[in-house]
Symmetry: C2
Subunit: 238 residues, 2 copies
Amino acid sequence: MSPATLYGLGVGPGDPELITLKTARILAGVDAVAYVSAGGRPSRARAIADAHIRPGVSEIELVLPMAVDPASAAPAYAAGADRIVAILDAGRDVAVLCEGDPLLYGSFARLLAHLDDRIGGRHRVQIVPGITSISAAIASSGHPLVGRLEPMTIVPAPLACADLDAHLGQGDAVVVMKLGRHLERVRAALARAGRLTGALYVEAASTEDERVLPLSELASAPAPYFSLVLVPPVRGAR
Amino acid sequence: MSPATLYGLGVGPGDPELITLKTARILAGVDAVAYVSAGGRPSRARAIADAHIRPGVSEIELVLPMAVDPASAAPAYAAGADRIVAILDAGRDVAVLCEGDPLLYGSFARLLAHLDDRIGGRHRVQIVPGITSISAAIASSGHPLVGRLEPMTIVPAPLACADLDAHLGQGDAVVVMKLGRHLERVRAALARAGRLTGALYVEAASTEDERVLPLSELASAPAPYFSLVLVPPVRGAR
């Protein structure tokens, strides 16, 4: 069996122009692409990379169930990994399209765990980093979130309230990712920490649907999954 | 006076293929490029973007002094900002080349403060995000640093020892940036926190000079400025 290559390709935050030259070049050469979709909606990663996917390549869609419990997605990841490894074992390269960066808070990390077990060193794995929604959101805000000596913590919104409070209580800059149905819980935690003023809400950064506004002015509703909050540091806290 | 555009263009961590299509397209159209160099060495951002800089465009090099005190660079930033704004005021677009991402721990944030004062709303400012050395380093490690519910803190190495200790004492994943002459201080802080085992040293991620090895195996010497340490979370800490 000749070794093939599995690529984890970052396609960036949403603007198709924020794909790298490397991801575009690799996509022009692969035999198959794979991507995740969830909740019955088409894959955002597939849509971002559309112009670079050659006609006629095999497409593998991992359809994740619409469910809060992440364990419920395990069979979909396992079945997708089986299909991807079958193509690799036939000597053909496969590119997994990943929104943002492949290894930062995306589904690829989870898929990779399933793939590593099955590949067992028979094939090459190459990860191509991508622009994160964090970089895109800060760029859209127009100003740096932190100075050169200021730490910054990235916090996933689904964290427990006590953990959110602990991170917000420290005074460092915080980026709260993946707001979705956690918006009001995060907003309440920011209010408890006295940090709601100054917190910036960014939705769909880099796309035509982008919105940037103070979190305090955002209407109460579930936020899209691809939204985040930028919380500047409490200056003078140290 | 007709408004021009100042671009802050992320050129990524080092591999010229990790430039985005957007940065490449904008570079093909601007009249002038600007970049920072320091310590008598040529600009890394200029080198990364070289293939996309049209022959004959104006080049503005901000030569920063080799000095530990950041205040000593203020005159160089001010003089560079004056030159950039003169070009904008002549109706010509200028692109500032930024290693990694323009607004994350780079010199552009500092230059932008000088530019904002001088531009005063007369010209457009557009920031194009770039791939960070953090994403590149994690990609080179081959594995995610954090799971979907695990926070991650980015800590600049020049922080005071007590602040390093406070961040390392929390159990979350930590990325220590800009090691340089702080390598041994950071290594000692990791040892005090009991987190030296598992910490990964990454130098020049994505380039031909890339090195990835356990920090505990790295020879004692000043590390390059463009090196960092990935510290996995203490699992089970929460």
